[in-house]
C-alpha cells in the first residue's frame, strides 16, 4: 500500500525496540473473541487508474449535473471565480487542523478573522462566528441560544414559510427543550406570514424566527415583524439561506436583528449534492458570550505584533463540558475560507452586480411566464432570485415533463406543503443566459400551454 511507508525490516527493528514479537501482540489488550477472523465484506483494493475509471462511470450516472437547472430551495448554483478553488487547494489550508497552536496557524486564523469581518459586514451585525455546519443547524442553535437568553419565556414562533428542512432540524434540536413551538401561518395570497398571525407574538415569546427571501422566494414584511417582535421584548432571528441576496436586499442588521443566521453555500461553494456548505451565525455584541461555535479574535504577540487566536473559549465544550453553549467543536473552516475568497474577489461592486443580475433575471422570467404561459405567479410581492408559479396541472407531472426535455424545472412545493398541489418553486441566478430563460418559458408553454 502506497500510503504505508514502514518496511518489513523496519517493522522488525521497531518491534524489537518495543519488546514484542509481532504487531499482533500489540493488540493483546483486546479480547481474542472480538478480533476479526474473516475479511470484511467490502470490495477488493483498487489502484489509482481503476479508481479514476470507477468514479468517472459513477459521475456519468449523475446526469442531473449537466441539465439546465432551475432548482434552488436552499442550495444555489452561482458563478465562482477559478481562483477560489485554486486557493483552497493549497494544502497549507486544507491539510491543517483547527488552529490550536496560533504560532503555526496564523494563515487559518487570519483568514477566518477576515471571514468573520466579511460576514458581519454582509449581515450588518456586530459579530459573526467562525461558522457552523450549515444554515439549518445554525438556525437550530440560534433558537437554543435565544432560549438561554430569554430564561423566563416559553414560546418559540417560527414562520411556516421557512425552508421545511430547517424547520425539521429546529424541531429535532429544540422540541424537548422549549415548551412550545408555534408556527406563524402563511397568507395564501402573499406567500408570506399572514399579518393576522403576528398577533401570536406576545410577552411569552422567546424569539421570532423567519426566513427571507422565504422558501417560496418571497420577501417577508421585515419592518412589521421586527417592530412587533421588539415591542413584545422577543428576539428577532432572521434566516438568510441565499447569502448573495444581501448584495442588494435589506440586511438583518438594518431591521435590528438580535441573532441572524444563514447559509453561505451561495458564496462560491459548489452544490455537491447539498454539502459541505457553511453555516453563518451572527448576533449583537451583548449576546456574544452566549454564542455557539468558534470565534477568532485579534491580539498581540510578545513583540507587540498584531496576531489572531481562538478566543472566548470559556463558552466551549472543552472547558465547560456539559455547560457549554453548544457541543460544536469545529467550524466549516475550508468552506468559510472559500466564502471569504469569493467575497474578497467579487468585492463590494461584484457582489452587488451578482445580486442585481439575479434580481433582474427572476423579474424577467416571472413576467414572461405570467404573460406567455398558462401558469400564473403564485404570490403577490417581492422576490430575489426565486419565486413560485402555479401550473394548470399537478406540479410533479409538470416537472417530469421538464425532465424529459433535459431541464430541471424547479421544486414541487407539495413535497412539504401538500395543499400546494400545483406550485413549483423556480430559481434563476446569474449563471443563466436570457436565452436559457426563454428556453424555460418555451418548454413551459409546450407542457402547460400558452397564455389564454
Amino acid at each position: 500500500m502506497r500510503y504505508l511507508p514502514i518496511t518489513d525490516s523496519e517493522r522488525k527493528e521497531m518491534l524489537e525496540k518495543i519488546g514484542v514479537k509481532s504487531v499482533d501482540d500489540l493488540f493483546s489488550p483486546l479480547p481474542k473473541s472480538v478480533l476479526l477472523k474473516k475479511e470484511l465484506n467490502i470490495p477488493s483494493s483498487m489502484s489509482e487508474p481503476e479508481l479514476e475509471k470507477m468514479m468517472d462511470e459513477l459521475g456519468k450516472e449523475n446526469c442531473g449535473a449537466n441539465m439546465l437547472s432551475f432548482l434552488g430551495g436552499g442550495c444555489y448554483r452561482h458563478f465562482c471565480p477559478a481562483l477560489v478553488d485554486q486557493m483552497i487547494s493549497r494544502s497549507e489550508f486544507y491539510t491543517s487542523y483547527t488552529p490550536y497552536q496560533p504560532e503555526v496557524s496564523q494563515g487559518t486564523l487570519q483568514a477566518i478573522f477576515e471571514f468573520q469581518t466579511m460576514i458581519a459586514n454582509l449581515f450588518q451585525m456586530d459579530v459573526a462566528n467562525a461558522s457552523m455546519y450549515d444554515g439549518a443547524t445554525a438556525a437550530a442553535e440560534a433558537v437554543l441560544m435565544a432560549h438561554k437568553i430569554q430564561t423566563k419565556r416559553r414560546k418559540v414562533l417560527i414562520a411556516s414559510t421557512i425552508n421545511p428542512q430547517y424547520l425539521e432540524t429546529i424541531r429535532t434540536y429544540t422540541s424537548f427543550v422549549v415548551d412550545t413551538i408555534e408556527l406563524l401561518e402563511m397568507d395564501p395570497a402573499t406567500g408570506c406570514v399572514a399579518e393576522s398571525e403576528l398577533a401570536k407574538i406576545d410577552s411569552d415569546t422567546i424569539c421570532v424566527l423567519f426566513q427571507y427571501p422565504n422558501y417560496f422566494g418571497m420577501i417577508e414584511n421585515l419592518k412589521k415583524i421586527s417592530a412587533l417582535t421588539h415591542e413584545a421584548g422577543a428576539l428577532l432571528i432572521p434566516v438568510v439561506t441565499e447569502a448573495t441576496a444581501l448584495g442588494v436586499i435589506a440586511t438583518p442588521g438594518s431591521i435590528d436583528a438580535d441573532i441572524a443566521v444563514g447559509d453561505g453555500q451561495a458564496l462560491g461553494i459548489p452544490m455537491n449534492f447539498g454539502g459541505p456548505g457553511v453555516g453563518l451565525f451572527t448576533c449583537k455584541e451583548k449576546h456574544v458570550r452566549k454564542m455557539p461555535g468558534r470565534l477568532i479574535g485579534e491580539t498581540v504577540d510578545r513583540n507587540g505584533n498584531r496576531c489572531f487566536v481562538l478566543t472566548l473559549s470559556a463558552r466551549e465544550q472543552h472547558i465547560k463540558r456539559e455547560k457549554a453553549t453548544s457541543n460544536i467543536c469545529s467550524n466549516q473552516g475550508l468552506m468559510a475560507t472559500a466564502a471569504s475568497i469569493y467575497l474578497a474577489t467579487m468585492g463590494k461592486q461584484g457582489l452587488r452586480d451578482v445580486a442585481l443580475m439575479n434580481l433582474k433575471r427572476a423579474d424577467y422570467l416571472k413576467k414572461k411566464i405570467a404573460s406567455e404561459t398558462a401558469c400564473r405567479i403564485a404570490f403577490n410581492g417581492c422576490n430575489y432570485n426565486e419565486f413560485t408559479i402555479l401550473a394548470p396541472m399537478d406540479a410533479c407531472e409538470l416537472l417530469k415533463a421538464f425532465g424529459e426535455k433535459g431541464i430541471l424545472g424547479g421544486i414541487a412545493a407539495k413535497k412539504y406543503f401538500p395543499e400546494l398541489d400545483n406550485a413549483v418553486i423556480v430559481n434563476t441566478t446569474e449563471v443563466h443566459t436570457y436565452g436559457e430563460l426563454d428556453r424555460f418559458v418555451d418548454a413551459l408553454k409546450e407542457i402547460a400551454g400558452g397564455a389564454k
Binding site: S69, S96, N163, M271, S330, G347
Partner: protein, 488 residues
Amino acid sequence: MSYPGMRDLKLREALIFERSREGRRGYSLPEEDLTGAESILPAELRRDELDLPEVSEVDVVRHYTRLSTYNFSLDLGFYPLGSCTMKYNPKVNEKLVRNPQFTELHPETPVRFAQGTLKIMYEMQRMLAEIGGFAACTLNPSAGAHGEYTGIGIIRSYFAKTGDTKRKKIIIPDSAHGTNPASCALNGFEVVVLESDEHGKVDLATLKSLLNDEVAGIMLTNPNTLGVFESDILEITKMVHEAGGLVYGDGANMNALLGVARPGDMGIDVLHYNLHKTFSTPHGGGGPGAGPVGVCQKLVEFLPNPFVVCENGVYSFKNSSDAMGRVRSFYGNMGVTLKAFIYILEYGREHLGETAKNAVLNANYIKACLKDYYHLKYKSDTLHEVVFDDSEMPNHVTTMDIAKALIDRGYHPPTVYFPLIVHGALMIEPTESESKETLDEFIEAMIDIAEKAKSDPENILNAPLSTAISRPDETLAARKPVLKWVRN
C-alpha cells in the same frame, strides 16, 4: 541534529481590507446593463453600503498564498496531534471529487438523475456499517460532535418509543472528550461522571455502582483518550445492557481498530465515525468533516431522516416515522463522504486492517523510545496514541513550552493538556502514514527538548523563535474581544 527545524521565507501580509483601493476590481462577469435593476425592489427593501474589500485578482491570490505560508500543515511535516488522527490525505481523492458530475449536482435533483451519488451513499452506508459491525449507518451528520449529537438523539428517541422516559442519565468516563458531555446535555441528558481507575480505565465495580433504571447508557471512547483499550469491554457492555441501558461508542479513536476489530461485535449499540480522522479526509483547518453514525438492529428505525435505500437496482431516499428527526439540511457533507469512499476502496478488504496495525506500531515505537525521557502517568499498554506529561520536567518547563519548542524543531505539537485526567498531558498520535525515519527524527527532537530543559531552559521557555509570530497574548484577546476588523 537530523530533525527538520524551521527556517523559511515569510512575507508580511496585512488584512485583505487593508489592501482595498477604491474602484479596484478582481471579478469578471458578463457585460450587462444593470442600471435601474435595483428598482425592482422597493427602496425600503434595499440595503445600503456594502463594506467588502475592493481588490484585484492578483491581490487576492498573493494575500491567500502568503497567509497559507503561515500555517503548519500535514503536507509540510509531521503532525502528531493526539486524538485527531492526522493521517495523510491522498491526492487522488482531492482530484476525483472535483469532477463536476459530483460538484454540480443539486440536492433536489430527482433521484433518477442522481443515481451515481446515491449509489455511493448507499454503498458508504453499507460499508461503514460492515466496518463497524453495525446493522445500518447514516451519513447525515457533518462532524464528529454532530455525530455524537445524532447518536445520543437516537438513544433519546429509542427510550421515548419504549416509554422508558425516566432514563435521563448518561455515564461518561472522566477521560472523555468535552464534546461527549456537551452532546448529552444538548439532548437533555444529565451527565454522570465515572472516575477512571489507576490504570486509566473503567473500573467495573465503579460502573456497577452507577448503573440503575435511570441510566440511558454509557458513552465510551475505546481505546480511550489515553490510547488504552478498555479490555473489560465485553463485561462493560453486558452490564450496561443488563441494566437496561445502551452503549454509545465515540469513534474518535477508530483508527486503532480499523479492520482489526469491530465495535459492534463488542456490544456497542451506536457509534459515530470521523471520516476526517479514520478515513483520511482532510481537516481543512477546522472542517468540513463528516460524522456518520452506525447502529445495531434495534436502533435502525431511529436513524435521522433521510436514509438511502435501494429497490430493484434504483436508489432513492426514505424517511422513517420513528426517526429522531432531521439533523441538518439535505443529506450530509457529500463532498467529504466521496473522499472517504475512494479511500476505503483503495485499501479494500485486503489492506484496510494494515492502517490500524501500522498506526499502533508507530505509536508504541514512540512510546518505547521516549518513556525514559518523559513521564507516563498510566503504565497500561496503549494502542494508537500515547500520553506523556510534564511532571518530571526541570526548571519549570511545562507542556506548553515543550509544544512551542517542537515548533522550532519543525513539528506540529501534540495535543496538549488533554485528557484532563493527566496533568500537563502531551498526547502523541503518529498515525500509520509516517516512516520510521520521520519517527526517529521526531524522537531525537523530543529528547533534545528534554535535555535542553535541563541544560538550557531559556531555549525552551522562549520558543518558538522561528515562526511568523511569537506567543500571543490570549488573555488580552478574551478580556477585550476584537472579533472583526473595523475601519478607522
